[in-house]
Symmetry: D2
Subunit: 439 residues, 4 copies
């Protein structure tokens, strides 16, 4: 079992009594403060024969939540919020929760929204800051996207960003974004430390692909899956209603197939799920094409759900990286569509293939109720962390608890589906697809 | 910390090789069997200063999942499924998943649906058994309710039920239902054991109130919350658009306020959440009515969300139990409506009060995508458990893992919101309601 | 065939060239102005043997739409908007459309929203006027209700309202509301005329019950039906899943059963629709109770959909009127529930009755896409009418054309389902209910 | 004004008393039969100065509905149903309504579903007929697509189809499909007549593009628009949240822009609607590109909604026809995307362009409540027409009445948006787009 250091950097001297009036004792019907030494066990899997597990101080994950003593004086706090990268359901909910908790629970009245991601910090773009108040954010959770706007990249302009943070006199910065954003946040925080500035950097991890480590389910993921389910339902209807109908749906997932896997579990109509984590052959007796042919003989229609990062080894290598540094991929959806069409044309078997790429519809949808709950709680806990002087920290739900994860740890590796384990097991059970389509 | 015995009863002699072809090794891209000694730690909360925790054999929770060696010979298996109690989103999804997994993964072709709950076992009602096959269940997940029908009660007719189970030659019985149902299942299982019958009893816990122990989120709960959110949105619109508009919404939750709490977190428009776990006063300076009055002065509208079991101490004691043995409650919604109207009438303050009771709309809705995923996985794992000869066991998602919980343990106590802890803490943060409305 | 006078009052001297640049000729791909003499035939039903129909000048309905010459100088116009009565899906859409059309098409920049219905005009309530601009209304169509708030009554305070209109220097007033509101609008307009004020009063008819004459489908009606359909689906699921399950759903419709009739046509699961226009017996061989009993014998479940105004002759006369002057009704839903329970209890037949009253959920929902289209077009045409100096006029969709209806005509009678004609015919066909449940 | 002959062919000798018990008189609360001489005026637009209009016998449109005397003896009837062409929301609703009305109202028990369109009639494909009964169709309206399957083409195999119809001994054939399908139906009917077979051919017109003449709104159209609205909402969110964000959505509409126009009216966020009926330039001071640039300067984002058949004159001529004989079109969406990208790249203006093609998601969705109502009524009226011996007839909603339209008339021309008239007028008002983007 790999070991991780979950120690959270924090500004010492938490000497301010929190204005959030909670309780220190049980059974008074009033919610309690979270004590700073409360921890969650990271690895909770073991075997019947184990009799004990032991920890070092750095093995355990710190619980999130309101502290009784905080670092910042709320009357003086100036908070900044920035949203970066691609859209994801729930961004506005997180912004709203941060603003509401700062304003009503802590009494912080200076809250600045940085526009269009880290770019909003760069002087040359002259993007004005948006003053955030309850009236401004009250209804934003009903809309997709982010009222702050977003953009990719610019996380490398660390010095300029920190100059700007300094000039604005921010005390805390909430960075809502994915891998690239949080790497930027880490570098910003380190530069702040170099300059000896006590400015808390608290991240809310965003990844529609669910591929961030130490974040078991990212916000917006469920909402995205809900939309993908609709696209698959459409593909299934088209496939069922045509002679040898084949529906192909492509969903997000450059390096991990979580959206595809969950969509298949939700929908029950998918016959083949193709994800980046599991290679597959097209040709040969155990290849996708032959399996598809046999299914059409048997059932006369089929639905294929493919994550955009699947089957990359099959595509002629395409290169380059986008503005966030993600590897550019060939389009596996179009590739499959062409290969399947060709295969059956050669065999002179009539098929009716329909290709659906729901693309941005999935990520621009508002958060569903469960994601709304999650975002509300993430944002609230991010505020508690920042007010308590925690920094370089992400708020995450892990093993069913809201916790603090060091940013440095979270950005060190990606979350992927482990084909050996339960999620993939359940996917192959529910779809009935071949265990592995490799010759 | 309380100790629990998580030992799962099982029929020994698992000598049949599972027809479900999975892998025993890692890194072959093929999902693995779950080994019988895999366990999950139950209590994962600790403190920074802890250096180790130790277990006995019964402290750890058994993981669910497909076993390589199983107890039953699939060719000979006759499986029964029964759904009991009130409707809940996802019942059909669970039925579907059980049938599909039995049929396609294990090759079990004799699957009988018992109609209208345990009543379907009782001879005097002459309810025919429904033969379940893939065609029969293929599309049922798009509909609310249960194709088997349901009823309350009859769990006490243990001898008659077991007679019937014996006569049908069932090898396994899947009991989908709540507290009462699983208590019945436990008694059935014990009677089966007395008669020396090796018939596996595997429960899928159902409780729209989310009040079953050792089940951190029950299936259908999210879908129910989604519907409740719509009712609250309606109440909020009504309240906002009228002079001193007050919207009251009553939701399910006899003994626990999970639906109310989650709905408030999802909706952001609720000002007061009233749940059974937290007492409140109506009168006095710190009572609900005075707080409501102050809010109307300040904001001119308010939304109150009340769980049906809240404030029972305020209602004149109402007695009796329903067919499932649940305590009958006075109607807190109507009670509040009347009290609030009276209070403001006396004060000669104009209000516009709108009362919404979405009642059955909430529980009869189909499962949303996330509940669909959950139900698919619960049903699949229930089949694995039964085929492996596990019995008196519930399938549950606990600490993010699918596990086996002894029925005897699960029915021994109820799950309730702990007002001292995080969920309630986040609710009071997000609603901004008074910490406690008691004088 | 009854004759109506469709003449629209208008301020003469339309000498201002419309700033809305449209075309006067065909085939230039540019939309045309509507000419003031364009008319629609009111009664379009005839028989094969008819060889001609003749009209007087007042028989034909004036078409709505932009005129080339208008009465008001847009630079000087001050417009007022008021929303009255109960909520209805689409109110915000209509407000938005009026503001957007005034602002962007005509260049009118002074637009005042009167708050909480006619009450907002009354000095003693000191309700401030809301300045309406594009930014204020841009996103309001995604929300139910009305940003202006609403209230019932006050339409009789004609003199005070007109004093207020005069003081505000309004040039046009848009009254969005139902029967009572438009009666008020008519009186206001007449008082304005008496005072020799050229202030246009243009109504957008609102009635969730669809009971306004000369308005074939009122805005928000479809959205309301969509919500009612969900309640019926819930009732159907409950009924189907229980032994002798009976689901009763009560929907709006004091004097006409349009919501109930359309919901039954949309849902296909309703067995009995009870509306105010068609009397029915409870008892006797051809009464509802006996029919229900026979259906339960045959099919074991039933769904009853009842409009709130149905069966009033069966209820012990209940009296009084509400603030808008509507007759107060006894609750037919509760009445039916009690009568049915009693009937089967006496017959010792087990039933499972579930009663659903979706109430305000139905009317507070946002407008669906089709209602959004309708509202956008109603609001736009209301602006054209007012700018052209039309007054005492309602905008309506009649025989598939947007038209001008004199308010005096519209408020003179109610729209009801004619049981002799096609709509009711199709309802009895689709539900399969008895032609008439009278002994 | 063009003249049309609305005479409906019918088998004479309607001597059978309808088993549908309705009334012949008013005021008895029982729906009435429709008399065969009831008619609707086709052209209802006139001017104030008109004093009369005159008709010939063929000018008026026959009303649909149940006749008291019918042609076929229900006990002997064998009915066939076929669905052809692309999917459209509501197909299953129409099938359901036809089956239910035949079965329960007329007592017809032999109903055959022809599979996969006209192809199902062709012997060489050996497609089995599906026996349709109430149980088979009871829940199909909740699903998109058609349980009968569909295919394009084969309408030319008139002789083979009629051979098959004869062999099956059909008495009536319900053809649910678009232009090509109804042309096929017309030819089938003429061949039947040649062979002296009294077999009624009744069409239910289906066209997701709403481009069939004499059908003012086709079934499924609203549902399709509802889905398109979601795609546009996604595009708008993406556009608003990026720097100079441009969202392009392509929707169906080869020869008419009804979906695009209605979607723009429903959504309010579209800035440019491009439809086949209105030409536009890309370049030049009054071209789309320049207008787009000015809008980005002013508002920093834009949404373009384009019907697939728009701007064909701008695309390099692409040729060929598909299996239904529709002209193949170049992809205007991709074309616009490329042209816009190139334009701003050359001008060195940063844009963020997102292209969404919801494609099949739109047409495979289930019918919304209003379309469900419409389909229920279309199907019911189709049965009445067939039972009464009407043939070569389409059921349509025209001027708000269900009517009979001769197929020969309906297929003679296409329905298109008239840019001179109200619909387009309202679109340019609501979007605020330039009146015409031509230099």
């Amino acid at each position: 079992m790999q070991k991780f250091d979950f120690t959270i950097p924090a500004f010492e001297e938490r000497s301010v009594q929190s204005p959030v009036s909670l309780s220190e004792r049980n059974d008074d019907y009033i919610a309690n403060y979270v004590e700073d030494n409360e921890r969650i066990i990271y690895n909770i899997e073991t075997t019947r024969d184990e009799r004990s597990i032991s920890f070092t101080q750095t093995d355990l994950i710190e619980k999130a939540g309101p502290r009784e003593k905080i670092y910042f004086n709320p009357d003086l706090v100036h908070a900044g919020i920035v949203t970066c990268g691609g859209l994801c359901p729930g961004l506005n909910n997180v912004i709203r929760a941060i603003v509401m908790c700062l304003w009503y629970q802590y009494g912080v009245k200076r809250i600045s929204g940085i526009q269009y991601g880290y770019r909003g910090f760069l002087e040359k773009f002259s993007l004005p800051v948006m003053q955030l108040r309850p009236e401004k954010v009250r209804d934003i959770h009903t809309r997709g996207g982010t009222i702050l706007g977003s953009s990719r990249g610019y996380g490398d302009f660390v010095a300029e960003i920190v100059d700007s943070v300094e000039k604005m006199n921010l005390d805390m910065l909430f960075t809502i974004g994915g891998d690239g954003t949080q790497k930027g946040a880490l570098n910003i925080s380190r530069e702040l430390e170099k300059r000896n500035l006590k400015i808390a950097v608290v991240g809310v991890p965003k990844t529609i692909d669910n591929d961030l480590s130490f974040v078991q389910k990212s916000f917006g993921f469920e909402s995205a899956v809900s939309e993908a389910v609709k696209a698959v339902a459409g593909a299934h209807t088209e496939a069922e209603n045509a002679i040898n109908g084949i529906g192909i749906v492509k969903v997000m997932g450059r390096e991990s197939g979580f959206i595809a896997a969950h969509t298949a579990l939700a929908n029950n109509d998918v016959n083949y799920v193709l994800i980046p984590e599991v290679p597959f052959d097209l040709d040969g007796e155990n290849g996708l094409l032959r399996h598809l042919e046999k299914r059409l003989e048997r059932r006369h229609h089929a639905v294929i759900l493919v994550a955009e990062g699947a089957g990359q080894e099959l595509l002629a290598a395409s290169c380059g990286v986008d503005a966030s540094g993600n590897k550019k991929l060939g389009d596996i959806g179009i590739f499959l569509k062409d290969k399947i069409s060709e295969y059956f044309r050669k065999k002179q078997i009539e098929i009716n293939l329909k290709y659906i790429d729901p693309s941005y519809i999935i990520r621009s949808t508002p958060a569903n109720p469960n994601d709304s709950i999650y975002c509300a709680r993430l944002g609230t806990n991010a505020v508690h962390a920042a007010m308590a002087g925690k920094t370089e920290v992400l708020i995450s739900l892990f093993n069913n608890h809201f916790v603090h994860i060091p940013i440095s740890l979270a950005v060190s590796r990606k979350n992927r589906i482990d084909p050996d384990r339960e999620l993939w097991c359940d996917v192959v059970m529910v779809t009935g697809q071949p265990r592995l389509m490799k010759n």
